[in-house]
């Protein structure tokens, strides 16, 4: 984690809060300065543009996520690693729902100046899932399907997690983990299939 000044932290926290409500496009630098309680000069001294600000915010969030995902799958393999990754991703979404909403909302935007950066961040987090999937099912990698399957497991967890936190928050986390993992368990497929 990058060391940062109190001002920088206050700016990032304010930007996160506002963007979770209105999306990145709906967030202005004026709003961020006001919410953070800093002068506009100070805001622009720390982040030269709104794009740089959100590049910093998403970069920090995705790097932290990638780190906890890597820790979660280290020392376990295959299906156990997938279980650990889904559990950890749901925990991260629960701890930082605002960031998860921004990621879900902007992961596929194509107009961003930081599209390249965003691609790298997404790629790094998905790579952790891809490693586990390749261990669990080497044939998937052989036919080039492991990256799509990583997106699939990540997307399933992200969507179920946001559905839980925004519309069904009383449900215990363990039940959400179990429901997502059940989707991948093969129990949806008839035994004769």
């Amino acid at each position: 984690m990058v060391r940062m000044t109190g001002t920088k932290r206050a700016i990032l926290d304010a930007a996160l809060e506002i963007a979770a409500e209105r999306g990145i496009s709906g967030t202005t630098m004026d709003d961020v300065a006001e919410r953070a309680g800093v002068a506009k000069g100070s805001l622009y001294y720390n982040f030269a543009s709104k794009d740089k600000l959100f590049e910093g915010l998403l970069g920090e969030g995705m790097a932290a996520l990638t780190e906890v995902l890597r820790e979660a799958r280290t020392g376990v393999e295959g299906w156990s690693a997938i279980e650990a990754l889904v559990t950890t991703l749901l925990g991260s979404i629960a701890r930082n729902t605002a960031l998860a909403k921004i990621i879900a909302g902007d992961i596929f935007r194509t107009d961003r100046a930081w599209r390249e950066a965003s691609f790298t961040f997404r790629h790094d987090a998905l790579a952790e899932f891809e490693v586990a999937i390749t261990e669990a099912l080497p044939e998937a990698s052989a036919v080039g399907a492991s990256a799509l399957m990583a997106s699939s497991v990540f997307g399933a967890t992200l969507m179920a997690g946001l559905e839980w936190l925004l519309f069904d928050e009383e449900r215990p986390q363990a039940e959400v983990v179990a429901a997502v993992l059940c989707t991948f368990s093969g129990r949806l497929v008839p035994a004769t299939h």
Copy 2:
């Protein structure tokens, strides 16, 4: 499908195009009028506000999606219905990637005037998946997990589909369908599990 005037259609198409590039928050009524080639008076005559405009756009898109999903699962059951739904959803995303990006981006926004409407649209589309999941695995419904599993399957398909269309578009659609379905096939779980 609602019958509509050429002007209304031009406005909705312009709004869709711009929002796919910049998100809903980044789209202004001025932009829409300009892109559609209509006077602002005419724009506001058709849609009283930006919220009404996007409520119309997302409502139309999600109603059409729900209809094709319902057709896809009609007459088939359980896992076959899930296969049909995943295949159909990927086809819909491929045919209307712009709308899929907006849906992915705004499905969890909480500041929208049309949050209620958006909830209904999402709920209707997810309900088609929930019916199939309940048929395939009645216990999921019994423990209240079928709605989360529906979100999970929908989110997996949406994310893998957008990944495909935005970053890997040369890949044949059948391979994407196969990769997403493989995620749910149980092949990730060791046989001894």
